[in-house]
Symmetry: C2
Subunit: 365 residues, 2 copies
């Protein structure tokens, strides 16, 4: 039996309500259908959003439903009925144009296509241009791992990060996700912003009225700050490695550019500061493990790596060793049983959406 | 005219001698030929090693000739006449076995093959197993950029880094290099260890008797230390992001595992702690830009990105904005003119090698 575990438990707990994830999925699906999306696309958006909440990445879950998606669809920035177009295609690559549609279904279909092509040739890359925010990067990388492949998912984002040597928001948090199957659950899943933290963590701190650790971001003049409001208003996040080059800030900056080049420059989408909420680019890659060795052997080798990492000598002050994907997996088990914690302000936002769209929801009353 | 610029100028300068890079290349080539390598392979090793010195990555240059290569070949760990074998191959992938040979020619040929295959299918991945240290990762990524492709080069390494939550050396510094061509020189070139710094920087500090900044590594008990000797002896480097998770140490840890999975687990080579100096794995990837858009258009877009980054508001305390690849490029221009600085202890090592192999070298006397 899995012990109850929750990643980053939201504090204070009394400000949250537990909702069954199936109810949340049904609601989000219904919202997008009413907004004009196809049933399939609405289902994909709901699955990605609520999976984020299930995994404990609440920053990327339903707290974004209103501001990131609902309002953007209503204002016409995101076109829910846009056609996903194939611009060019070959044995191991494709370029798709989302035509300013929803990011989640575009990325989902891109990864499906990458998996299909990798099965033929060994590896494939599919880029999407003119898309919008696609939620958690890891969702799509995991799709490949579930098909016994290695999956890579990247997206560029609006600029929130100051690149090394600069002040102000100049480059994206541009996340990278990488997944590989193992013998035991869960698959390896790295899902990281190339900044110290994603912008969602700052937004969450603002929402909760909390201070943040020094080193996450800078104010408008380039000073380190523990006030999330100063970052959200005129400041910027820092690249992984922090301010300057001493501890490797130029590496996080470089990783962010790598993602921007693959998702934005190569795809013909927005990049750097030349990006809008509906000109975001994604890049999906899949590698067929079976071309290199029997999948079972690969999984055994992954298991050996996992056991090795878990059984290393533990740091006396840290006290525990985690492998990427574990926390999310355990949190998901817990939250599937006891529900997803949703902040009261988010409940209120969903109530308003339900009312505006005329959706009857028992648990929102 | 390019202004004279040198990346990380070695201090104190009086301990260094300037050597013409062509002399260094000839010498290193001759060393490997005498050791039994083919002329082609010896030339590749020399080019990679001396290019590191030219670029200002002295930690990866001729200072490693003796301990990393010469001694390892003499003791039979690295087999200079090993045959590079193709284990399996398909439209967009290949797996090569270096059979414990030199890493540089194996990686060079792997990238050549990846470029060839990508030209047909759009993207290709070539893994090498049972190889040895291949020098600077960026060398191979740049090969792709020079062919108007995007290049990715990775290798796993001996364990030098403590993964998040652990003490001791458990995972490699596992570098990632990524290169893309631009309109103006130089191409974009990210070349980074997934640790805060590569082990070479620590070795260099030990050699020079210098302290290091807090945050680069920990001692045998997991405490941060500024003494490079404590890291080299029983301590460990830290993953990019530092100690613990607060500033993203788990991200550097995850990137290191990503590289280990692609280079070690997938290739059938060593990984984690199960790795020897001759069971290292490399992974090369190439993406054919022309499949997505005209190369000229891509280069113009890269130029736009570079100009945007350079023209951002400069951080008052940092004072200058760099783009990845620039410093190395400028340092190379300078050092091609005035010579490569070689530390006197390294000169001494080369003298001994020359004597042992009976190589007559004018500038070593």
């Amino acid at each position: 039996m899995v012990a109850m575990f929750e990643k980053s438990p939201p504090v204070p707990l009394e400000e949250f309500v537990r909702i069954d994830y199936r109810d949340l999925m049904d609601f989000v699906t219904e919202v997008f259908i009413r907004l004009g999306a196809s049933r399939e696309d609405a289902g994909i958006v709901a699955d990605v959003l609520v999976t984020a909440d299930l995994c404990g990445i609440s920053s990327h879950g339903v707290q974004r439903l209103k501001s990131y998606y609902y309002e953007k669809v209503k204002s016409g920035v995101i076109k829910v009925d846009a056609k996903l177009e194939t611009i060019c295609e070959g044995p191991s690559y494709a370029l798709l144009d989302a035509n300013h549609g929803l990011g989640h279904p575009a990325a989902y279909k891109a990864m499906k296509l990458a998996i299909e092509k990798a099965r033929e040739t060994g590896i494939a890359i599919v880029c999407v241009r003119n898309s919008s925010h696609y939620g958690i990067a890891g969702y799509y990388a995991l799709m490949a791992a579930r098909e016994d492949m290695i999956g890579i998912s990247m997206t560029n984002t609006m600029p929130y990060v100051a690149h090394t040597g600069a002040v102000g928001r100049t480059i994206g948090t541009n996340p990278i996700a990488f997944s590989a199957p193992a013998l035991s659950e869960p698959p390896f899943l790295l899902d990281m912003a190339t900044s110290v933290v994603p912008i969602g963590k700052i937004q969450m701190a603002v929402r909760l009225g909390k201070k943040i650790p020094l080193g996450w971001g800078i104010d408008s003049e380039g000073n380190l700050t523990d006030d999330p409001v100063k970052i959200v208003e005129n400041g910027a996040l820092l690249p992984l490695g922090g301010l300057g080059e001493l501890l490797g800030g130029h590496k996080g900056y470089g990783l962010s550019l790598m993602v921007d080049i693959l998702c934005g420059v190569l795809s013909g989408s927005g990049f750097g500061g030349f990006i809008e909420r509906n000109t975001i680019g994604h890049t999906m890659m899949a590698i067929d493990i079976s071309k290199f060795m029997p999948v079972e052997e690969f999984k055994q080798r992954m298991e050996k790596l996992k056991n090795y990492l878990k059984n290393s000598r533990v740091h006396p002050e840290i006290g525990k060793i985690w492998i990427h994907g574990e926390k999310s997996y355990l949190t998901m088990q817990t939250r599937k049983k006891i529900g997803v914690p949703v902040h009261k302000t988010v409940m209120k936002e969903m109530e308003e959406i339900a009312e505006e769209l005329g959706i009857e929801v028992e648990w929102l009353k």
